[in-house]
């Protein structure tokens, strides 16, 4: 049901019955290492190219999600997914193996919540019984496509972010046990004219703020109604900016915990990740691993995840264009 300006309220409360998370070595050394289903020791994952390695991450995450559930893969009606690669090849090629009806989406790093929102909508409206939502990113494919060759010696500025090597997948079902998807807000494109592709946290902060505010306003809630509000990958530069903007707009964050997946997935003190994590996999592995596990333990009752995405291309920033950004927010609740 459409409520407010841009929010879907899911009356039937679709359930995330199972998730799968697979990460690379750096994430495996981070503070959330124990929450992932599988940690790869190498970045190449015994594959011949970085692109194949990224695809393997997603394949393994979807397989893990199916294995942990009580259903078979062929019971899933649709697969919704996307990634950072040109023509979203990681998802498309992974979907080739699955043999499921496939909806490819692109929202850069916001794809995690974009795909979860669409999957929940399909289930809530009765158009599907089981839908898989998945996304992935790989540090080396992102470096190769958006920046420089991985072994090229260039100094990254302190506000740059480190793309997470990881994939997360979730199975959304009409009935079952687990955290429920209550509502989703589809974000607007926000562009405040920033052009530095290394400073994505600052470019994306207004999108996160806009979507979180819309989500709260549409649902007639305040931040204190949430145990946790997390952004996707604003990292150590973008998150304080988001706090400043909330203050500017008169929204108090008292009574909730406001954090960012890019800050949670790595230890910024000991790991050389500059401002923190980013990438489609960042919010996916943190949400489908750490956050959902905390919800299942009863530590968190209501959580909002606002995944942020910088919708730039290597071509657009070379031509001097600013960075359009987006954020999609989803509210999850654990009953009982």
């Amino acid at each position: 049901m459409h409520v407010g300006r841009q929010t879907w309220l899911f009356k039937n409360k679709p359930v995330i019955i199972s998730t799968g998370t697979v990460v690379g070595p750096d994430e495996g050394e981070g503070p959330l290492a124990d929450t992932f289903d599988y940690v790869h020791e190498d970045l190449d994952m015994q594959e011949k190219s970085w692109e194949k390695a990224e695809r393997k991450l997603l394949e393994q995450a979807t397989q893990a999600a199916v294995q942990k559930s009580t259903i078979q893969e062929n019971q899933i009606n649709y697969f919704v997914g996307g990634d950072l690669m040109n023509q979203i090849i990681s998802n498309t090629f992974a979907a080739r193996k699955m043999g499921l009806p496939y909806i490819g989406v692109f929202g850069a790093c916001s794809t995690s919540m974009e795909s979860l929102a669409i999957a929940s909508l399909l289930v809530d409206t009765g158009n599907a019984e089981y839908v898989m939502a998945g996304t992935c990113s790989h540090n080396c494919t992102a470096e190769k496509q958006f920046r420089y060759p991985t072994e090229y010696g260039s100094q990254k500025p302190p506000y740059a972010q480190f793309t997470v090597t990881g994939a997360g997948a979730a199975i959304v079902a009409a009935t079952g046990d687990g955290p429920r998807v209550i509502a989703a807000t589809i974000g607007k494109i926000m562009d405040f004219g920033l052009t530095d592709p290394f400073n994505m946290g600052a470019a994306m902060a207004p999108a996160a703020v806009d979507t979180i505010q819309a989500h709260l306003a549409d649902l007639n809630r305040t931040p204190s109604d949430y145990d946790l509000i997390v952004t996707g990958d604003l990292a150590s530069v973008g998150l304080p900016i988001a706090r400043d903007l909330f203050k500017e707009n008169g929204l108090s964050l008292e009574g909730t915990v406001f954090n960012d997946c890019g800050l949670m997935v790595f230890d910024l003190e000991t790991q050389a990740v500059q401002a923190g994590g980013s990438g489609c996999g960042c919010s996916a592995v943190v949400t489908y691993g750490h956050i959902l596990q905390r919800m299942q333990k009863g530590e968190l009752k209501r959580v909002m995840i606002a995944a942020t995405g910088a919708l730039l291309s290597p071509l657009s920033y070379q031509q001097g264009e600013s960075i359009p950004c987006i954020a999609h927010a989803v509210t999850l609740e654990m009953e009982g």
Binding site: R5, K48, S49, W50, E51, K144, Y148, P149, T150, E151, Y152, G153, S154, Q155, K156, P157, P158, Y159, F192, G193, L194, N199, A202, A205, P206, D210, Q213, A214, L216, A217, N220, T222, V237, P240, I241, D244, L245, F246, E248, N249, G250, L251, A272, A275
Partner: protein, 168 residues
């Protein structure tokens, strides 16, 4: 929440943004950690200087042990430095040095070798011709283009002002 209905709708509920792009840039700039210019200069000086020192040692070794003259020793010295740089790139070390050293590891010949070998390695998966061949100069290409253009302009200046160059 309903008790506040008489007061004006707070800014966050309206969905409108009152700040301009310029104002936002100021907010964002305040939170942007600055690059330490002095620290980077010192590091670049140390690492760049060390690379040159290593080059000098190699050159001296060619002179002392291989009986070469100073001119003869210069080419094998450069080749040796390039080889070391490529090996460090292949082992995934050069980019880590560069994160610390900044321009110190980018400016010497080792930086040029790193830019070519890293691009070649990265695009090996696309084949020898369209991958390695076409992408090897992806980063180094602009150095060659602008190096040639600069050389041409200098040559013109020499020609116009009639400066004679003695070739060594």
């Amino acid at each position: 929440m309903a008790t506040k209905s008489k007061s004006k709708t707070p800014a966050w509920k309206t969905g409108e943004w009152s700040i301009s792009q310029e104002q936002y840039k100021q907010i964002a700039n305040k939170r942007e950690p600055s690059r330490s210019v002095y620290k980077n200069c010192i590091r670049a000086f140390l690492v760049g200087g060390t690379i040159c020192l290593i080059g000098q040692v190699i050159q001296q070794m060619f002179i002392s042990f291989a009986g070469m003259s100073k001119e003869q020793a210069s080419s094998p010295t450069v080749v040796t430095l390039i080889l070391i740089s490529v090996i460090l790139t292949c082992f995934g070390v050069y980019d880590k040095i560069a994160q610390w050293a900044g321009a110190g590891s980018a400016v010497p010949v080792t930086g040029f070798a790193n830019s070519m070998s890293s691009a070649a390695m990265e695009h090996r998966s696309e084949g020898l011709v369209l991958g390695v061949g076409a992408n090897m100069f992806k980063l180094a290409g602009s150095v060659i283009v602008f190096g040639t253009v600069a050389a041409f302009i200098i040559a013109l200046i020499y020609l116009i002002f009639g400066i004679n160059i003695k070739h060594g």
